[in-house]
């Protein structure tokens, strides 16, 4: 799908508002919504996985070894749900 933006003439927009690139919202960054930031303290993390599914913004990457990595700050909106569910204090909101 060609790049579409607010300057695209009508002739070049997809008809009906169709999108042929499923999941392209990944290109829309929501990190600037954040007013507080979660900090991942890997040394405290036990990889229990409780935070994996709770992030509304899919901003906690989980690798094939079933371990979480640092936050995707391009997407994290700073809601703090992950920090609250962590039993080990491995996520701090700053």
């Amino acid at each position: 799908m060609a790049e579409i933006n607010a300057n695209t003439p009508w002739q070049d927009l997809t008809i009906g508002g169709n999108i042929y690139e499923a999941g392209n919202a990944r290109n829309f960054k929501t990190g600037d919504w954040r007013s507080v930031k979660p900090i991942y303290l890997s040394e405290k993390c036990k990889q229990c996985g409780l935070c994996f599914p709770v992030c509304p913004d899919d901003a906690i990457p989980v690798n094939k070894e079933q371990k979480r990595e640092d936050f995707n700050y391009d997407m994290c909106k700073g809601c703090g749900v992950c920090a609250k569910v962590c039993p080990f204090g491995a996520i701090e909101m700053k």
Binding site: N5, A6, W10, L13, G16, G17, N18, I19, Y20, A22
Partner: protein, 395 residues
């Protein structure tokens, strides 16, 4: 060789649908179109068609299901009338804005209220700005032929708009008349396979349909729809030409009946044209140069072409079988006069609202209109351009 039959308008529509063999039909019963899904259900039950029939719980759901099916990659059809179309109204706009070439058989009936089950065109007129192509049919043959042509027009890549084929409730839907049917294999070949470029069920290219389309985009998407409607004019003529090659039956934007040398003429749609033709013949016998313009393609409206064929007349009456209740004449009247005005053609033209709620419109009524036109020609005066025909209490 074509097949000679005797069918009602509803049977003709159901027969066309059977020959088209759509993937999905979703419909809900409403008088006078009920018979169409009824007949069609028996084709489904007996395995005559490959269609999945969705017996929905409302017309709103009928159109929603058609939208879902068409977006999924299927050919979807439905039939309805009157309030059924009113209940669909929200989805009618969505169907066209999503550019889904759904085909509907609309059996015209008065929209409530008060409740009335008989024919007028208020249902179709209620969606005239919705972005659907609207074809009108004088009789069962035209209702059938228009349906056979429908998918070729609607699915054309330059069009991709939904299409409704209108016919008059009871007057043609329930009247049995002679009809020439086309052989199944010829229809199949003519209609062809539906192969959308993008569709929901294509797992190789998942797609999303029906976004939130904000200030930066909706205008452009509407502009695309407008262009598609303009393109439809050309496509309708091309498809009609192909259809003529197959059947010998000629279709255009409209039918001119003894219009060429006429001095006065009526413009109307659907079954009234039959009555008007009979009246024209009677008047011609008396030496009155009466003519008729029967509109087949109401959306897109062939404004320029209509203006051109009416340009030589001395007086015109536009008959609307629906009142716009706007104090300024019926919808067809407005389109005709604006078309003429833009083409710089100035012929005295009057609006007649007639036949509301199934009020019978006989040849004598039509003759009265021609008499009124003769009077206008004679006196050069139009006292009241917004007239009613056949209502009690008006002179």
């Amino acid at each position: 060789m074509s097949i000679r039959e005797r069918l009602s308008g509803n049977e003709a529509a159901a027969t066309a649908m059977k020959q088209i063999n759509p993937d999905v039909v979703a419909a809900f019963p409403i008088t006078p179109s009920t018979e169409i899904p009824q007949y069609f259900s028996s084709f489904v039950s007996n395995g005559t068609v490959d269609t999945e029939f969705v017996a929905v719980e409302s017309e709103h759901s009928a159109m929603s299901a058609c939208i879902g099916a068409e977006a999924a990659g299927a050919r979807a059809m439905t039939a309805t009338s009157s309030n059924g179309l009113s209940l669909m109204w929200e989805m009618i706009y969505i169907a066209s804005s999503l550019r889904l070439p759904i085909v509907m058989s609309l059996v015209n009936r008065a929209v409530s209220g008060p409740l009335n089950i008989h024919n007028d065109h208020s249902d179709a007129m209620g969606v005239r700005d919705s972005g659907w192509i609207q074809l009108f049919s004088e009789n069962n043959q035209e209702a059938y032929d228009n349906l056979i042509m429908a998918h070729r027009i609607a699915e054309h890549k330059d069009v991709l708009l939904p299409l409704m084929v209108c016919q008059d409730g009871f007057i043609t839907s329930h009247s049995i008349e002679n009809i020439e049917l086309i052989e199944d294999d010829l229809v199949k070949e003519f209609v062809g396979q539906y192969k959308p470029e993008h569709y929901l069920l294509n797992d190789k290219e998942p797609m999303a349909v029906g976004p939130l389309d904000l200030q930066a985009y909706l205008f452009e998407h509407k502009r695309q729809q407008a262009e598609a409607m303009r393109n439809a004019k050309k496509v309708i003529l091309e498809v009609s030409k192909d259809f003529e090659k197959m059947t010998g039956r000629k279709y255009g934007f409209f039918e001119e009946y003894k219009l060429e040398d006429a001095e006065i003429a009526i413009v109307c749609m659907n079954s009234t044209a039959g009555t008007a033709k009979y009246t024209v013949d009677r008047l011609r016998e008396k030496g009155i140069k009466a003519g008729l313009l029967k509109i087949r393609v109401f959306r897109p409206f062939p404004a320029e072409e209509v203006a051109k064929v009416l340009s030589h007349l001395k007086a015109i009456a536009v008959l609307d079988k629906a009142d716009s209740l706007n104090a300024a004449g019926g919808a067809l009247f407005e389109d005709v006069v604006s078309g003429m005005y833009v083409s710089n053609i100035h012929v005295p033209t009057v609006s007649y609202v007639y036949g509301i709620g199934g009020r019978d419109t006989k040849s004598d009524d039509i003759e009265k209109v021609y008499n009124d036109l003769s009077e206008i020609v004679k006196t050069g005066k139009i006292d009241n351009p917004y007239r009613y025909l056949g209502v009690r209490g008006d002179k």
